[in-house]
């Protein structure tokens, strides 16, 4: 990996943003290839699983609280 491509050592005009013309990014930014997840088919499916699990956990915790209070 080329460290100079990280942009960390690339000089950037300090505070030079105001009113400056459209400032090009200091490094070329390649578009990342959207990899599919190794399981689950689509990323949106995995996101839904995570949020669905949270909803189920909250419901279970609430039932747990009520059952033993």
């Amino acid at each position: 990996m080329d460290d100079s491509a990280s942009g960390a050592s690339s000089p950037s005009p300090e505070g030079g943003a105001e009113g400056s013309p459209r400032r090009p990014s200091p490094v070329p930014i390649p578009e990342a290839r959207e990899e599919p997840p190794p399981f689950g088919g689509r990323w949106n499916t995995l996101y839904a699983v995570v949020l669905g699990t949270l909803a189920v956990l909250i419901a279970l915790f609430y039932a747990f609280t009520k059952a033993f209070e």
């Binding site: 990996m1 460290d3 491509a5 990280s6 942009g7 960390a8 050592s9 000089p11 950037s12 005009p13 300090e14 505070g15 030079g16 943003a17 105001e18 009113g19 400056s20 013309p21 459209r22 400032r23 090009p24 990014s25 200091p26 490094v27 930014i29 390649p30 578009e31 990342a32 959207e34 990899e35 599919p36 997840p37 190794p38 990323w43 995995l46 996101y47 699983v49 995570v50 949020l51 699990t53 949270l54 956990l57 909250i58 915790f61 609430y62 747990f64 609280t65 059952a67 033993f68 209070e69």
Partner: protein, 570 residues
């Protein structure tokens, strides 16, 4: 501790350090040292993320938190899964695309150098102090339980971490965390089994849960909306989401873990796994604490769980009064034990009125015992005004040492060490990254060789190890450690998150506007902490909202700025 315990603990410590040095290998450049050469599989990333967040404080203080205050602390984590999804969608692909070492590099690309420097400074301050607490927790426990000198213990623990983190960098951190998580799961699982087996005959796990529930210790969800109430569903879902977004999205100790992933998919899956597993894991640890509470309803607990403080007051002029209070406490807990057994008995016979009466009698006996305990704690403070009135951190380990069989005590102590070392090694690695990449390489010596940067990375790791050890020496009076760490984080995270959110989504706002707004926001958060009763989780919302709103307002008074060339997150 028996010889077997010592052998188990020593084997675990030597094994962890040796394994870290061996698997860390020899990095030839700073990408290898700081990002493990971007070669981590998603499973390793996932374990590394979880192990970095779960320090020894998690396993010592959290059960004590449930013992003293119930399980409502679990709500603190409810925003985490939401944050994991948001970061998987936005930050992960962006950071990978930019091929950054640290999250703060993004800010210079998006804004300017001063914004990057300010944010890196906030991170270094907050995380440097937190690393001290991470080392302090197990040292404190060891010193109290084994009578070791606290200062020496801190130095020993800190040094063990520094050895393999300096040697192998991020690769050593990630690989060792897998071993450490194995030790943690084994130790906590064994403690749970022994705890359940130690309940009195005739008292089942379900009975113990009923007893804990009647005493208000199984209060996992609180639906009330009260800004001064520390843990509610709403503070967890809203404040907790902001805190988790900031911690996982902008804190280098976490960003570095998923940047070490071999692809966007590996990093995303690591975060999403954490989103699914973290809340049940915390629930399990709190449940363990609630069961320790239930266990002590059938056994005589000490009036105060810190044996050092108890010994001090016994030796003071207040020793006689304290002994009388201890005696009274033991009488009252004996009554409470009987009431608890009565409660268990009537729960099985199905008479509702008898059950209500037994519940009332049990709660009343508990209140009387608690009142005596509070008087004993007040006396401890009277005898030693500098004494910490909280014994939350000692509850779980006190149980372990007293009731676990030989060998398992050593295993649980190894859990404490493993958790502390996994979290603090990641912190030192991240602090070294920000120091080298955001300060040394960017500001002090931009054209140096890879070899020099690698050397400075190792020196920075040692420096932050020494800094953490030095702060740990001063950390003995912070009350519940798990809360101290989270309050400290919340003082900074909202502001940092606000800066990143503006960077990601408000592309017309300039560096100067966000820089000024961040300074004002940080002052506002500190004012909230010092001057208002607002609970700390809301600081994350306050800091973030101040930065976003003020930056948008400031920008209206500055000359308009063309949108950044950087792509938005996602």
């Amino acid at each position: 501790m028996s010889h077997l315990d010592w052998a188990v603990l020593a084997a675990a410590l030597v094994g962890m350090v040796a394994y870290g040095v061996w698997r860390g290998g020899r990095s030839r450049d700073i990408r290898g040292f700081l990002l493990a050469g971007n070669e981590m599989r998603w499973g390793t990333v996932a374990i590394s993320i979880m192990a970095t967040q779960a320090s020894a404080i998690t396993f010592l203080s959290t059960p004590g938190q449930a013992y003293a205050d119930g399980m409502r602390f679990v709500q603190f984590y409810l925003g985490l899964p939401v944050a994991m999804v948001v970061l998987a969608v936005t930050a992960v692909p962006l950071y990978h695309r930019l091929k950054v070492f640290t999250a703060y590099e993004f800010l210079e690309n998006r804004f300017d150098l001063k914004t990057r420097a300010l944010t890196a400074f906030l991170f270094l301050t907050q995380r440097g102090l937190a690393a001290g607490l991470t080392i302090f927790a197990p040292a404190l426990i060891l010193s109290v339980i084994l009578g070791w000198n606290l200062r020496v213990t801190i130095v020993v623990i800190g040094s063990l971490v520094v050895i393999y983190t300096t040697s192998g960098g991020a690769r050593a951190v990630g690989r060792t965390q897998v071993l450490q998580v194995g030790i943690i799961l084994a130790g906590m699982g064994a403690a749970f089994v022994v705890l359940v087996a130690s309940l009195p005959s005739g008292v089942s796990l379900l009975d113990a849960m009923h007893v804990a529930g009647k005493a208000g210790r199984l209060n996992a969800i609180d639906l009330s909306f009260d800004l001064s109430n520390r843990y509610t569903l709403w503070s967890g879902l809203i404040g907790g989401t902001f805190l988790a977004l900031s911690y996982f999205g902008t804190d280098q100790s976490q960003v570095q873990r998923y940047l070490a992933g071999r692809s966007v998919a590996a990093s995303r899956l690591g975060l999403l796994f954490n989103g699914v597993a973290k809340v049940p894991m915390q629930f399990g640890i709190l449940f363990l604490g609630a069961l320790v509470f239930a266990f002590y309803q059938f056994e005589a607990p000490p009036v105060f769980f810190n044996p050092v403080q108890t010994a001090k007051v016994r030796a003071s002029a207040e020793g006689g009064r304290f002994a009388a209070l201890e005696q009274r406490y033991h009488e009252l807990t004996a009554v409470r034990q009987q009431r608890a057994l009565d409660l268990v008995r009537v729960m099985d016979n199905g008479d509702p009125q008898a059950r209500r009466d037994a519940e009332r009698a049990f709660v009343q006996a508990g209140s009387e015992a608690d009142a005596t305990r509070r008087r004993a704690i007040a006396l401890i403070r009277e005898a030693d005004p500098g004494a910490d009135p909280s014994d939350t951190n000692y509850v779980f380990l006190s149980f372990v040492v007293r009731y676990l069989p030989a060998g398992l005590v050593g295993l649980v102590l190894a859990v404490v060490f493993a958790a502390s070392m996994s979290a603090s090694s990641a912190e030192l690695n991240a602090l070294a990254s920000a120091t080298v990449v955001d300060v040394y390489r960017r500001l002090l010596d931009p054209g140096a060789s890879e070899r020099r940067y690698l050397l400075v990375s190792r020196l920075a790791t040692i420096f932050w190890g020494i800094f953490a050890i030095a702060f740990a020496q001063q950390a003995s009076r912070l009350g519940s450690l798990v809360e101290a760490v989270n309050i400290l984080g919340s003082l900074f995270y909202g502001t940092i998150l606000g800066i990143f959110l503006v960077g990601f989504y408000l592309r017309s706002i300039s560096g100067t506007a966000v820089f000024v707004s961040a300074l004002i926001a940080e002052a506002a958060v500190v004012a909230c902490y010092l001057l208002t009763p607002i609970s700390f989780l809301w600081y994350n919302v306050v800091g973030c909202a101040f930065v976003v709103v003020l930056a948008a307002t400031c920008q209206r008074f500055l000359r308009p700025r063309a949108p950044s060339a950087l792509p938005a997150g996602g």
